[in-house]
């Protein structure tokens, strides 16, 4: 089984400041990792994903994340945030394909950007 822990439930930052949203996971098998964003009153949108290869992955809207296998982490970063980045961010994993591909999500981190 897999589990995902997002270490911060809320992160307030000022506009143009850098931000890091932390994600740790637990799994007995290898996994794929994802970050999704949920803007107010909308569905989830994929920000980025790690499947294999380079551990630094770049996504949409200037976000990037680094997979660290030894620390079982997949932290999300952005060097300079904008008001429009205000949203809820979810880290998720799925076991490398063995059958059903359900996603296991963390509890979410609410990112609030202040002017």
């Amino acid at each position: 089984a897999q589990s995902v822990t997002q270490l911060d439930s809320q992160v307030p930052v000022f506009e143009e400041a850098p931000v890091e949203l932390r994600c740790n996971y637990s799994s007995s098998v290898s996994v794929y990792l994802f970050w999704y964003v949920q803007y107010p009153n909308q569905g989830l949108q994929l920000l980025l994903k790690y499947l294999s290869g380079s551990t630094l992955v770049k996504g949409i809207n200037g976000f990037e994340a680094e997979f660290n296998k030894s620390q079982t982490s997949f932290h999300l970063r952005k060097p300079s945030v904008h008001i429009s980045d205000t949203a809820e961010y979810f880290c998720a994993v799925t076991p490398i394909p063995q059958g059903a591909q359900k996603l296991v999500f963390g509890q979410g981190t609410r990112l609030t950007i202040n002017p």
Binding site: L44, L46, K102, L103, G108
Partner: protein, 113 residues
């Protein structure tokens, strides 16, 4: 092209009533998933359909919950004898076969009074 659509967008019901939630996946997507998002929490997997294979129902919280899918098209999630703890946003997602990015619908917000 059209994304995943869900209906209704909002549903208010009384405790003990049955409800049906509908999901229209992206055309050509063979996999369809239902998740539940309770207030302030992450998403919980409910059920997964893949082509003609038996669905993975391992996430359904009780026998009051059931889901059907006709071929590779529409799916309905049915909750019988609703309880207040069923109040949540129910999200549907679809994808191509095997691992692939899941595309999410806007969700149905269910409120049980």
């Amino acid at each position: 092209g059209a994304g995943v659509s869900q209906s209704p967008s909002n549903k208010v019901t009384e405790k003990g009533k049955d409800v049906e939630l509908r999901c229209d996946p992206i055309s050509g997507h063979t996999a369809l998933y239902w998740y539940r998002q309770r207030l302030g929490q992450g998403l919980e997997f409910l059920i997964y359909f893949q082509g003609n294979s038996a669905p993975d129902k391992s996430g359904l919280p009780s026998d009051r919950f059931s889901a059907e899918r006709t071929g590779e098209s529409v799916s309905t999630l049915t909750i019988q004898r609703t309880q207040q703890e069923d109040s949540a946003v129910y999200l549907c997602a679809s994808s191509f076969a095997g691992y692939n990015e899941q595309f999410f619908g806007p969700g149905t917000r269910l409120t049980v009074l």
